[in-house]
Homo-oligomer: 178 residues x 2
Amino acid sequence: MAGPHTLGETERQVVDRVGQLPLDYAAMAVVSNLFRASNAVRNHLERTVLSSQNMSWTAFVVLWVTWIWEPIETRNVALESGISKATLTGVLTTLEKRGWVTREKSETDGRLVLVRMTPAGRELMQALFPEFNLEEQRVVESIDAGTLDTFADLLRAVTASVEPAASSPDEPPSSQDR
Amino acid sequence: MAGPHTLGETERQVVDRVGQLPLDYAAMAVVSNLFRASNAVRNHLERTVLSSQNMSWTAFVVLWVTWIWEPIETRNVALESGISKATLTGVLTTLEKRGWVTREKSETDGRLVLVRMTPAGRELMQALFPEFNLEEQRVVESIDAGTLDTFADLLRAVTASVEPAASSPDEPPSSQDR
DNA sequence: CCGAAGTTGTTCGGGTACGAACAATGTATA
DNA sequence: TATACATTGTTCGTACCCGAACAACTTCGG
């Protein structure tokens, strides 16, 4: 959405198409670059780090969430990973098939399913995550270290303005799939 | 990846799992929040604006790129949209099926395919894009107006650090699929 | 207690999403 | 002007990705 063309050039072209409609170009720039950056980073990390394990970005995120919080209920895995519960079902099946996680029905609540790492899954993450973090570092290396926290806060502000409900930590907002 | 848990709480838990390995938590926060924000905004816009046309985010981006730059070669649509050419083939088939764009072989180069809007496609974008931009505005409304440009620049810096090659505008970097 | 209302994970259908392999086409080299 | 080399869009296989509908289960109101 912000490809090889100049900013001004794109804007001029947009004005030509939209006509006199008033547009917020600053907001447009942020949203389009948000996606460009997100896509670029995901694909980069998939190619440099995750491809060695034939793993997708989402699979890695789910594995990471499970690694950090296990045992964890699937609804919370979906919440933490930022994917829908429908998507999670498929991803978990994949991860289970590869022997990295296990599913287990809750004893106290028959509706819930708990996810745990296998030893193989834990070994994998112990080796893979430092490598992943090193590449994360490379992705932001051109940005002044003192600015990184501000950057993260700006991103949190965007997320918050879209997902208003967020009561207290450790107590997810009532019930939404994502 | 940065769900209902506190920042410090997640960090403490990560330390517990990773052990003594040195990690860049600032970089980690930026990358994970980049994806959280990106996902949240995409899903929000799909639900609020795009669902009326039963359109996905990617379909909208492709339609937008075509709208702004038509007639445009498919390789450049993929480049501007930030998706692979393989993905584009499927999306274009969908958009063509719905009567919003057309495919046309280039007369000067038999390998190229040109994409154009149909009148119906143009009408749709003329109505949909202002609505879309209004929602983009809402997504960043909590951010100080003077900071938006800086924000966009930070996002561009991330993209640039991952996709280093970028010669001159109007002249895509030799040949990469995305 | 017992039916209504709510919650949870799965299934289903349609649509992305990628890399690799491919055939068609264009270009460069000798 | 052949013959290698490069480029382009499509196809293929596999893996997401979501909303809607669903069955299993829990909880709440009377």
